[in-house]
Symmetry: C2
């Protein structure tokens, strides 16, 4: 009775193909720009087949979100596995987070900004890698506190504060709100021409202030 299994495999393969196509199209245009018809055409199926696999566009992008979390987690893990000074590890993990967001703004939106694919977080499976990303941060924070390069406050609050800050930076950057720094819009603020570097620099400054305080 291997027929059942083969059909399951084929079904799964098609599902994966659709997710891959959706991810790619999404990466270069965002949610609105991806049309179900385009996905179908790229997969060389009719649109109905997409709906055979995914309840609707939102459900499809839950799967894309999950894939995006996998990629992001991989990217983060690749930067932390070394034997580093804890403070450098904190710098590294933050910088990796920021650079991933800047390199893949649409995926970043899907993971942390859009609400389409979030309605009902009753589905924690899809957030598995997202949670692991947070645990990666938590681990480094705890390590920093033990070694004394971060003050010994509530580690959850510290992780939350650091995550919020880098997320705030990335999301403001992605939505072009940092453009207020780019021209002569603010008095006493010389135009900043490289916001990406300012983000990294400011993050490190904050880490250092915390560490000096510890």
């Amino acid at each position: 009775m291997g027929i059942q299994e083969r059909k399951m495999r084929e079904r799964e393969a098609l599902r994966r193909q659709i997710i891959a196509i959706a991810t790619e199209q999404f990466s270069t245009g965002g949610y609105e720009a991806v049309k179900m018809r385009d996905i179908a055409e790229a997969a060389e199926y009719s649109v109905g087949t997409i709906y055979n696999q995914f309840e609707d566009k939102n459900t499809l992008f839950l799967a894309v979100q999950e894939a995006a979390f996998e990629r992001a987690l991989e990217h983060m893990q690749a930067t932390v596995n070394g034997e580093m000074d804890p403070l450098d590890e904190l710098h590294a993990i933050g910088e990796a987070y920021i650079r991933f967001g800047l390199a893949h703004p649409h995926l970043y939106r899907l993971m942390f900004m859009l609400d389409s694919p979030m309605q009902a977080l009753d589905r924690p499976e899809g957030w598995s890698c997202g949670l692991q990303m947070h645990q990666l941060l938590s681990a480094v924070v705890n390590e920093c506190m033990e070694v004394g390069v971060l003050p010994q406050v509530d580690p959850v609050q510290m992780s939350f504060a650091l995550w919020s800050m880098v997320h705030g930076m990335v999301s403001l950057r992605i939505t072009e709100r940092l453009d207020i720094y780019s021209g002569e819009h603010l008095p006493d603020v010389p135009p900043i021409h490289n916001p990406d570097e300012m983000m990294i620099k400011t993050m490190r400054m904050v880490h250092h202030l915390f560490s000096d305080q510890a």
Copy 2:
């Protein structure tokens, strides 16, 4: 020739009415939920008349964004005009920012998260009140540095870091990403049932860490 002026006034009044209606509808449903037809009906005009006043939906919501910034700035200014201890002032301005975002999540999205109404920030008029909000923060930060409750780093970086953190908190909250803290999703993290208060508490903690370091 007062006729020209009267017509201009009427035109301006209609424009304002449309913006008010759009703001109200937007406040209770977000961008997608607002239909041009609904706005027209609420204003008791046909849809064509809306397009006579605003090039398209995006342009209309540029105006709504501007109105939202006005409200937010007012709200912020109302909390800072008192003669306060600089650190309390910093707490107050941050808390006001957070509370406005929580009270008006859709307007917050429009101001700081959506990109529809942002394409082309070649239009700094609409950001006037938004810029003033930033200046409010800058002023308090400078004051804190003078008095010695914030370390004397680059004030632009400090303002940017603080803004990013509270924006990160509010936007993660609004998009329900803080739900990861609400259940048993993270090991070693007791479920947090009141994220709003955690945001305020964490912000104050960070302010205090900075101030102790100064």
